[in-house]
């Protein structure tokens, strides 16, 4: 592989898309990603709605969990997949429901490429682009507060699915929270590892679709319990 041109994500980046019951959205998400990132892997977490087929048809590589494990487990599988590729230098995590923007991911990989950090966290609170629904804002803010208190990493947004990581970072993280508490877990693992990290302002597109599919706020109770009990 030739070295990627400056500013182009090139062939040294894998985009990991955890996938569960997103058959209507994942096709477009993968197609849009592949215009910029040729290497997209969807980790299908036991979907029963044909999500895997849609992703495959859109040109993604698909790794299938035969049973549903949870998003954290799917991310870790995607990380392992990317690490099997010796030429992979960067990994982007990207949600399957179309709430993230590819341009944001490109900018994040560029910051890794520039050697600015090993981990770039996306944050929807760094600029005014994202309109966060009020109740969701309260819950997300509390989550950030808690994560900051317990991990020693001071972030503005703890539960954003858009991240970019260097190979070194991917290799040193091991996600053990299989369900949703993995977001705080990744933050705390990064904090403990001493890997340099930065935040990148990103826009979340709250469409009716992603709102309907998004996590129920009640699930934050589960996340809290899982985080505390370890």
């Amino acid at each position: 592989m030739t070295a990627a041109a400056p500013g182009s994500p090139g062939d040294d980046t894998w985009v990991v898309v955890p996938l569960y019951q997103e058959a209507t959205a994942v096709g477009d998400v993968v197609r849009e990603l592949r215009r910029t990132f040729p290497q997209v892997v969807c980790v299908d977490d036991g979907s029963t709605d044909g999500s895997a087929e849609q992703a495959r048809r859109a040109g993604a590589r698909v790794v299938r969990h035969c049973i549903n494990l949870g998003q954290g487990a799917a991310l870790q599988t995607g990380f392992d997949f990317a690490l099997r590729d010796a030429s992979a230098r960067f990994v982007v995590t990207f949600d399957a429901d179309g709430q993230h923007r590819v341009e944001d991911a490109v900018a994040m990989v560029q910051r890794l490429r520039d050697g600015e950090a090993d981990v770039v966290f996306g944050s929807r609170f760094l600029d005014g682009r994202t309109e966060v629904p009020r109740l969701r804002r309260v819950v997300l803010r509390s989550a950030v507060h808690y994560t900051n208190l317990t991990t020693g990493v001071r972030l503005t947004d703890a539960h954003n699915g858009l991240r970019a990581l260097s190979r070194r970072a991917v290799g040193s993280l091991r996600i053990t929270h299989h369900r949703m508490a993995h977001a705080s877990e990744i933050v705390s693992l990064v904090g403990r590892s001493g890997l340099p990290w930065v935040e990148q302002p990103v826009e979340i597109r709250y469409t009716d679709y992603s709102r309907a599919k998004g996590q129920s706020l009640l699930n934050s109770v589960n996340i809290l319990v899982e985080t505390i009990l370890g």
Partner: protein
């Protein structure tokens, strides 16, 4: 504070700490077995000497033997919940590892069968 209150609070904290925090699996199992033996001894004693439970209850300030047994049961039950939570977590990790390995190997095999993979073929 009554003696029993102190005893129960301490017992609850110990159960929580021992069972939720990481102890090695072997130690964890040993503790569970010791507790089980103790429970057996207590059960037999209370059957052979029915007055003993009430006597102990009065000493620690509970009054009735049945209440003491009930409190013991509550502590034991919480211990059981904590212990099974931990064991489930361990089991989940194993299932996840297994599923992950299966998923990755399956994908690599499909690639192999489908003909030449793309340039960045992992596992190649």
């Amino acid at each position: 504070m009554l003696l029993i209150q102190g005893v129960l609070v301490v017992a609850l904290l110990v159960v929580g700490a021992v069972l939720v925090r990481s102890t090695s699996d072997v130690r964890h199992q040993a503790v569970r077995r010791i507790l089980l033996v103790l429970l057996g001894v207590l059960a037999v004693t209370s059957v052979l000497v029915p007055g003993a439970v009430t006597w102990v209850a009065e000493k620690v300030g509970v009054g009735r033997g049945t209440d003491l047994v009930l409190y013991g049961l509550v502590v034991a039950f919480l211990g059981f919940i904590a212990s099974s939570y931990r064991r489930t977590r361990v089991l989940e990790s194993k299932v996840a590892e297994l599923t992950r390995r299966l998923a990755l190997d399956e994908e690599a095999r499909e690639r192999g069968v489908d003909g030449p993979g793309n340039a960045g073929r992992p596992g190649a």
